[in-house]
C-alpha cells in the first residue's frame, strides 16, 4: 500500500476546532492546473466492498462513528430501501422524459447515498433548501415523489407546499438558496429554537458570490446551518478544477467554520457526518460545510451530452463505488438481509415506478387563466385588467368562426 492510499482513508478537516497550521490546514496550491488530490482524503465508514471501516484504525473517523453507533440492521435496511426507491423513481423519470412526458429531468443517479444519508440525519423540524436534483432528500422528507415532476413536465414552478414537510421548493438559479437557508437559520436562532437548516448545492455553485455571502453571513451570525455540497465532480461540462484550486471542504476555513469531506457514496458516513454537523448547529456552534465527494453517473440533465466532455473510464471507475451495491454487499455479508428481502424490494420499487408513470400521464395541463394567479398576495390593478382582457380575448373564439 502506498503512503497516499493509506492517507486516502484519513479524513481531513479544516476550521475553527483546529489550531492554525495543524495538519488539516490547506496547503498552498501548487502552480499546476490540476491541484486536486487524485485520491482524496475523506470520511468513510463503509468501503466500496461493503466492509465497515475499523474505527480503532482511524482516529479521525472515530469522531464521526459515534453518530451512527445506534444504527440497527433494520435502519441499514431502511437506508438501503430509501436508496433503491429513489433510484427507481429517478430512472422512471428519466424514462418518462424520453417518452416525452417530461420536458426535462435532472437525474440524481450515483448521488443516492449523499442524499439519503444527509436526508435521514434530519429531524422533522429541521428545514431543507434544495437545488433541483434533491429527489432523494425529498423522499426522506416525505414529499410525494410525483409532486417533484410537475415542474419538469412544465405544469407548475413548484408542486408542493414547502411548509408541509419543511422542504423548500427547488431552486434553479445556482446558489441562491444558500442565502435563504442562512436567513432562515438566522431566524431559527432568533426564535431560540433548536432546529437546524440544511442547504444543498453543487461544486459549481460554490463559485457563486451568493454562496460566499451565505458563508459570510452564517459565520458572523453563527447561524445553525449546514452547507451540504454534493461535489459530483462536474458542473455541466466543467470539472471541479474549473471552480476552485483547493479541495472544496477547505474553503470553510477562510470563513471561520469547519469543513469536512465525506465519502458521498457511503450512506453511513454521510449520515454520521451530517448528524455531527447538525448537532453542532443545534448546540449553537454555527455553520459547517460538508463536502460529499461523489459522482453524477448520468448526464447533467436529459438535454446534456456528457460524451462531449468526459471519459468513459472515469465513469466506469466510479461505478465500482456504487452506493447501493456497497450497502447491499454489506447487508449480504453480515446477514442483515437475504435475497428474499431484495426481491421483495424489487416488487415494491416496481410498484413505485408504475404509480409514477400513471400519475404523470394523467397530470392535467394547468388552466390557462393560471397565468394570472398568485402574482400578488394582495391583488394588483394591472393584473386584474390584463386578466379581464385575456378572458375576453379567449371568449371571442368560443362559438365564433
Amino acid at each position: 500500500m502506498t503512503v497516499e492510499s493509506t492517507a486516502a482513508r484519513k479524513p481531513r478537516r479544516s476550521g475553527t476546532k483546529r489550531p492554525a497550521g495543524a495538519a488539516s490546514a490547506a496547503k498552498p496550491a501548487a502552480a499546476t492546473a490540476k491541484t486536486h488530490d487524485a485520491e482524496p482524503q475523506l470520511v468513510q465508514l463503509l468501503t466500496p466492498e461493503g466492509v465497515r471501516v475499523d474505527v480503532a484504525d482511524n482516529p479521525d473517523v472515530a469522531e464521526f462513528a459515534p453518530f451512527v453507533a445506534d444504527i440497527t440492521t433494520d435502519d441499514l435496511r431502511g437506508l438501503y430501501r430509501d436508496m433503491v426507491m429513489t433510484r427507481r423513481f429517478d430512472g422512471e423519470a428519466t424514462a418518462l422524459q424520453r417518452q416525452g412526458e417530461l420536458g426535462l429531468w435532472a437525474s440524481l443517479l450515483g448521488q443516492e447515498a449523499a442524499q439519503i444519508g444527509s436526508g435521514r440525519a434530519l429531524r422533522d423540524d429541521d428545514y431543507v433548501f434544495p437545488t433541483y436534483r434533491e429527489h432523494g432528500v425529498a423522499w426522506c422528507r416525505g414529499v410525494d415523489p410525483t409532486n417533484l415532476l410537475g415542474m419538469f413536465r412544465g405544469v407548475n414552478h413548484g408542486g408542493w407546499d414547502p411548509t408541509t414537510n419543511n422542504f423548500h421548493l427547488y431552486t434553479i438559479v445556482i446558489g441562491s438558496q444558500t442565502l435563504h437557508a442562512t436567513g432562515y437559520a438566522m431566524g431559527v436562532a432568533k426564535d431560540g429554537a433548536d432546529s437546524a437548516v440544511i442547504a444543498y448545492f453543487g461544486d459549481g455553485a460554490s463559485s457563486q458570490g451568493d454562496v460566499a455571502e451565505a458563508f459570510t453571513f452564517s459565520a458572523v451570525y453563527n447561524s445553525p446551518v449546514v452547507f451540504f455540497c454534493q461535489n459530483n465532480q462536474w458542473a455541466i461540462s466543467e470539472p471541479t478544477e474549473r471552480q476552485m484550486r483547493v479541495p472544496l471542504y477547505q474553503r470553510a476555513q477562510g470563513f471561520g467554520f469547519p469543513g469536512v469531506r465525506v465519502d458521498g457514496n457511503d450512506v453511513l458516513a454521510c449520515l454520521a457526518v451530517t448528524r455531527w454537523a447538525l448537532e453542532r448547529a443545534r448546540r449553537g456552534e454555527g455553520p459547517t460545510l460538508v463536502e460529499a465527494f461523489t459522482y453524477r453517473m448520468g448526464a447533467h440533465t436529459t438535454s446534456d451530452d456528457p460524451t462531449k466532455y468526459r471519459r468513459d473510464e472515469e465513469t466506469a471507475a466510479w461505478e465500482a463505488k456504487d452506493p447501493i451495491l456497497r450497502l447491499k454487499a454489506h447487508l449480504l455479508a453480515t446477514g442483515g438481509a437475504d435475497e428474499a428481502y431484495f426481491e421483495q424490494l424489487e416488487v415494491e420499487s416496481e410498484a413505485l415506478g408504475k404509480r409514477v408513470r400513471e400519475v404523470v400521464r394523467s397530470m392535467p395541463d394547468p388552466d390557462t387563466m393560471a397565468i394570472f394567479e398568485n402574482v400578488y398576495a394582495d391583488g394588483h390593478a394591472l393584473v386584474d385588467e390584463e386578466r379581464a382582457q385575456f378572458a375576453a380575448y379567449l371568449a371571442s373564439f368560443e362559438g365564433g368562426e
Binding site: 434553479i172 445556482i174 458570490g209 461540462s237 393560471a370 394591472l382 380575448y393
Partner: protein, 326 residues
C-alpha cells in the same frame, strides 16, 4: 462561397470564429463554452481551434464573468461573454449596470468598454423556470448600454461582428427558439447599420414593429392578413437601444397605424416607449392609437402554458383588426 444558407446558431458560430481570427484581443468567456461548445453549441469547436486562452471556460459565477470581462477590457481585450440563459444574467446585473454601463462616462470618455454580453433569451422551447425570459427592457433602460437582437441568420452573423467591433458595451440577445431557423448569409455584403431598423415586408395599411423572435410571428401574421386583403408592413427593429425611431416614423407616416409586438411584458416595455415617441412624432398621421402586444404582468408561466402566454399569430392579427377598426 460568398452566400450560404445557415442556421442562426451556425451564423453566430461563424461570426465568433471570424472575430477570433481577425483580432487576437477578442476573447470568448462563459460557462461551458469550451469543450461542450456552450449548451446551445454556439461556441462549438472554437476552443479546439483557438485554445483555452482565447475561449475560456469560467467558474460558475456570472458576476465574476462580467466583472473580469470589464477588467480585461480595461487591459485592452475585447471579451465576448456568454450568459447561459436569460434568467441567469441577474447575478451579473450589478456589474453590468453599476460598472460596465458607466465606465465610459465616469472616465470622461477616456475608457472604452468593448464588451459584448450574449444572452440566449425569450421563450418557446418548453424549458423550466428562468430559461425563457425577456429582460431586454431592464437593459435598454440603462444609459451606457446598447441592446440588440437579430431575427435571422444574416443579422446574427453581421450584428455580432459589429457588436464586437463596437467600443460600447452591447447586450446581444439571441432568440433561442430561432437558433435552428435557416437563412442566407452573404459573407461579403455590406451590412446594415447595427442600430438601424429594417423593413422585413412592405405594406400600406398598417405597420407591425418587432424584434428577435417576434419578427417571424409578425411576418406570418402579415402573410395571413394579406389573404384577407390587408397590406401589412413589418419592421424588424433589430436594436432596442438605441431604437431607430426615424425608421418607424417613416413607415407609420405611410401606413398611419402601428402595432408593436414583443414577448416581454407590455407594461413599461420597449413597446411603451415606441408608442409614446411615435404618438409624439406622428400625432397627426395616426388613424389609431399605437397598440402593443406582448407579455403579461405575470411571471413567465410553466412550459405547458407558454403557447397561451406568448404572442402568436392570433393575438397579433387581433391587434391588427383592432387598429384597423378605429
Amino acid at each position: 462561397m460568398a452566400v450560404q444558407k445557415l442556421t442562426i446558431a451556425k451564423a453566430l458560430n461563424d461570426s465568433l470564429r471570424k472575430a477570433l481570427e481577425e483580432d487576437p484581443k477578442v476573447l470568448i468567456m462563459g460557462e461551458d463554452v469550451g469543450k461542450l461548445g456552450g449548451v446551445f453549441r454556439i461556441t462549438d469547436g472554437l476552443q479546439k481551434d483557438f485554445g483555452e486562452e482565447r475561449v475560456i471556460d469560467t467558474p460558475l459565477a456570472e458576476s465574476g464573468i462580467v466583472g473580469t470581462a470589464i477588467g480585461l477590457a480595461l487591459r485592452g481585450y475585447r471579451p465576448v461573454v456568454e450568459i447561459q440563459f436569460d434568467g441567469f444574467v441577474f447575478p451579473a446585473y450589478d456589474q453590468i449596470v453599476t460598472q460596465l454601463a458607466k465606465m465610459h462616462a465616469r472616465s470622461l470618455g477616456t475608457i472604452k468598454m468593448p464588451v459584448v454580453i450574449r444572452i440566449p433569451y425569450a421563450g418557446g422551447i418548453g424549458a423550466v423556470e428562468h430559461h425563457s425570459e425577456s429582460p431586454e427592457t431592464l437593459f435598454a433602460h440603462v444609459p451606457g448600454l446598447k441592446v440588440v437582437s437579430p431575427s435571422n441568420a444574416s443579422d446574427a452573423y453581421w450584428m455580432l461582428q459589429q457588436a464586437i467591433l463596437s467600443d460600447d458595451p452591447v447586450i446581444f440577445f439571441e432568440p433561442k427558439r430561432r437558433y435552428w431557423d435557416k437563412g442566407e448569409v452573404d459573407f461579403e455584403a455590406i451590412p446594415d447599420a447595427l442600430h438601424g431598423s429594417r423593413v422585413a415586408r412592405t405594406g400600406t395599411d398598417i405597420t407591425l414593429a418587432a424584434y428577435g423572435p417576434m419578427v417571424k410571428v409578425c411576418l406570418e401574421a402579415a402573410a395571413a392578413a394579406a389573404e384577407e386583403g390587408k397590406s401589412v408592413e413589418v419592421i424588424d427593429l433589430r436594436s432596442m437601444s438605441p431604437v431607430d425611431f426615424d425608421g418607424i416614423q417613416a413607415s407609420v407616416e405611410k401606413t398611419r397605424r402601428l402595432v408593436v409586438v414583443h414577448e416581454a411584458p407590455v407594461f413599461l416595455g420597449v413597446g411603451s416607449e415606441i408608442a409614446a415617441r411615435i404618438t409624439e412624432r406622428c400625432f397627426y398621421h395616426l388613424e389609431a392609437p399605437v397598440l402593443r402586444v406582448g407579455g403579461y404582468h405575470a411571471p413567465y408561466p410553466p412550459a405547458r402554458l407558454e403557447d397561451e402566454y406568448l404572442p402568436g399569430l392570433d393575438r397579433v392579427l387581433d391587434a391588427v383588426d383592432r387598429s384597423l377598426a378605429y
